[in-house]
């Protein structure tokens, strides 16, 4: 009911408000110290010793309406804690959250009807009931009237193929089906803002594609603001315009996906095939590739070397080489591709060039470090 009134009368003020506004969010947990040694069981019962763990330290950001934000970070970095604070599940130790201008902690009930939340690991559906019964219950919980419910479910059913398991009890659904059903459930009351905590975890390629497609439609056609956490970098690359990285409880990056790529400065790989062998310039004769080297053999790590071209100050690193090919890495922030190729051309007659942009997985590995 609340939701209906608030949406029927959108104020100018509300239009200008950010979808999410987090300021100086901190969260620390106290855990009792577990006693060791004799009678430890009894002693820890009465112990008053605590260790304080700072899960989230001073996180602040603003998400505009219609944004699609990816929130990534290694396990235990504070992702879930942040999501829980944003959705009003946990109270921050300090700092504040505003969702479309409403404080989810002071005014949880009002805020809840404007939010959709999906936890990838847990279902909000009724375990023993057919999927459609869960929707009936949720519709009543959120005060969605029948006409709206039928219309929305019709739309979702088409996009998410809900029909195939409409009458199946939730416990009998596959993980992919359950996730689709769960996302539809979170959208049933047509919230402006959708939080998803690892929505693609454990799903197969098809299920992931289906869900990504749906989220894209929600964002692009219905203008929903979406924030998701994930460990799947395809989610980020295919969906998110903006990515935030959390590490050790702090926000370590906030910007575009390309920007993240750039910031880390991952090298581009260039694989050059020479027509008739090559001679490495600027190094001793021992680095000239001899004919008895096995084709396709990789250079041992300790043989990798930084090559400093004589006429420029940039670095190329040999990743691997064979009799006729050479694979090098260059950081394109520092080196223009043409310069790198010109240098490589000095070493022999180039027959073919292959270039590979850094893998997003690789970027993340470096970010998580």
């Amino acid at each position: 009911m609340e939701m209906m009134t608030s949406r029927d009368m959108p104020t100018v003020q509300a239009e200008r408000e950010a979808a999410i506004e987090a300021v100086g969010l901190c969260k620390s947990f106290k855990t009792p110290v577990v006693a060791q040694g004799r009678f430890s069981g009894i002693r820890s019962l009465f112990s008053r010793e605590y260790t304080t763990k700072e899960a989230v330290r001073d996180i602040g950001f603003t998400v505009e309406k219609g944004d699609f934000v990816g929130y990534i970070g290694p396990n235990g970095a504070g992702k879930s804690t942040t999501i829980k604070m944003l959705t009003g599940i946990l109270h921050p130790s300090s700092g504040s959250v505003k969702l479309a201008g409403i404080d989810p902690h002071r005014d949880r009930l009002r805020c809840a009807s404007r939010l959709g939340v999906v936890f990838g690991q847990r279902s909000q559906l009724w375990w023993d009931l057919p999927v459609k019964d869960s929707y009936d219950i949720l519709a009543h919980m959120y005060g969605v009237d029948d006409a709206d419910k039928v219309r929305r479910l019709g739309e979702f059913a088409e996009l998410l193929d809900l029909d195939e398991f409409w009458d199946t009890p939730v416990r009998k659904l596959s993980l992919g089906q359950r996730m689709r059903a769960d996302i539809a459930a979170a959208m049933l009351h047509d919230p402006e803002l959708l939080f998803l905590d690892e929505p693609t975890i454990g799903l197969d390629v098809n299920a992931k594609r289906n869900i990504r497609g749906f989220l894209k439609v929600l964002n692009e056609e219905f203008g929903k603001t979406i924030l998701l956490t994930t460990h799947d970098m395809d989610d980020i690359e295919q969906l998110c315009r903006r990515v935030m990285v959390i590490g050790g409880g702090r926000l370590t990056y906030d910007g575009t996906v390309e920007g993240l790529r750039r910031e880390i400065g991952l090298p581009t790989e260039i694989k050059v095939t020479y027509r008739a062998g090559y001679v490495l310039a600027g190094q001793g004769d021992d680095l000239i590739v001899s004919g008895d080297m096995q084709t396709g053999a990789h250079v041992q790590p300790n043989q990798e070397s930084d090559l400093h071209a004589a006429d420029s100050s940039f670095a190329m690193r040999i990743v691997s080489r064979t009799e006729s090919t050479l694979t090098v890495e260059v950081n394109r922030e520092e080196v223009r591709t043409m310069d790198a190729l010109r240098e490589l051309g000095h070493w022999g007659e180039i027959e073919d060039v292959e270039m590979r942009e850094p893998d997003f997985e690789e970027i993340i590995r470096r970010v998580y470090g």
């Binding site: 009911m1 609340e2 939701m3 969260k27 947990f29 106290k30 804690t81 829980k84 959705t87 009003g88 599940i89 946990l90 109270h91 130790s93 404080d103 902690h105 002071r106 005014d107 949880r108 009930l109 009002r110 809840a112 009807s113 939010l115 939340v117 936890f119 847990r122 909000q124 009724w126 023993d128 009931l129 057919p130 019964d133 009936d136 219950i137 009543h140 919980m141 959120y142 005060g143 009890p169």
Partner: protein
């Protein structure tokens, strides 16, 4: 902050009741889908209940009376307790099962719902308990039937007993909710439930005069299970106390629920500030 008017509240309440009715309907329907399981569970529940009663009945058959309470009177205590507990667990089963929500983190889900946590928790598990209902009802009919026949009670006893069952269910719910609330600090509550629910309910199936004074005192105040069957039975069956028992029961059960609710709200706020 909350600008809900009284009209809004009424709509919200109506909506909630509708929600609950839907839940009852779907729950019945889904149980019926698995007829065998349902029948199996019902029969076993009835057997369990019956064997529990047999334990008491055998003692009574062997010794005749417990502290001056006849077999039928003790049967009455047992039946009222069973029915009150059935009432509580039919609607409040998920409060009793809060530990599962805390351990598995499902409580987080409930905190994202536009309803107070208690109200979104309760409809998660509406439970049909025909086995308990049948057994409790049968024993009550047997006990009251005999007492009606001997003229120990009048027909007035029936509405009075129903009243006692309802207030008793409310008292048990309040005890259950207060016990569950401790879980916001300790997460594990089954041990506490063992004391405040299982043991206490078992104790109150017998006349409280059986126990040492401190214990019957506790069972009337701190864990007031004595209010469920024992106190109303003193008036309804034995003509002790007075008619004032009923308003007192109503007031006591309301007070218990209000106190438990207060405690629950405090517990939730602690949970939200510490997390799991």
């Amino acid at each position: 902050m909350n600008e809900r008017t009284i009209g809004d509240r009424r709509v919200a309440l109506q909506n909630y009741i509708k929600l609950y009715l839907i839940l009852i309907r779907t729950s019945v329907r889904s149980r019926m889908q698995y007829r065998f399981n349902f029948a199996f569970g019902t029969v076993l529940a009835a057997i369990i209940q019956l064997s529990e009663f047999l334990m008491i009945a055998i003692v009574l058959a062997k010794f005749g009376a417990v502290r001056g309470w006849t077999m039928h009177e003790v049967g009455y205590l047992f039946a009222v307790m069973t029915l009150a507990k059935t009432l509580y667990r039919t609607f409040g089963n998920e409060v009793h099962n809060l530990e599962r929500y805390l351990v598995e983190g499902e409580l987080d889900q409930l905190l994202t719902k536009p309803l107070p946590v208690l109200l979104s928790l309760m409809p998660r598990g509406f439970r049909l308990m025909p086995g308990e209902l049948l057994q409790g009802g049968a024993i009550l009919a047997w006990a009251l039937g005999e007492m009606l026949r001997t003229g120990q009670v009048t027909w007035w006893a029936i509405p009075q007993t129903l009243f006692a069952i309802v207030t008793g269910g409310v008292v048990l719910f309040a005890i259950g909710m207060a016990t569950a609330t401790c879980g916001f600090w300790t997460t594990r509550i089954s041990m506490l439930q063992n004391m405040t629910e299982d043991a206490a309910q078992t104790a109150a199936r017998y006349p409280l005069t059986l126990y040492p004074g401190w214990m019957s005192g506790l069972l009337l105040t701190a864990v007031p299970v004595g209010l469920v069957g024992y106190v109303p039975a003193l008036y309804i069956l034995r003509g002790e106390l007075g008619l004032w028992v009923f308003p007192v029961l109503a007031a006591a059960s309301c007070l218990a629920v209000l106190l438990a609710l207060r405690f629950w709200k405090f517990g939730i706020s602690k949970y939200q500030s510490t997390g799991s």
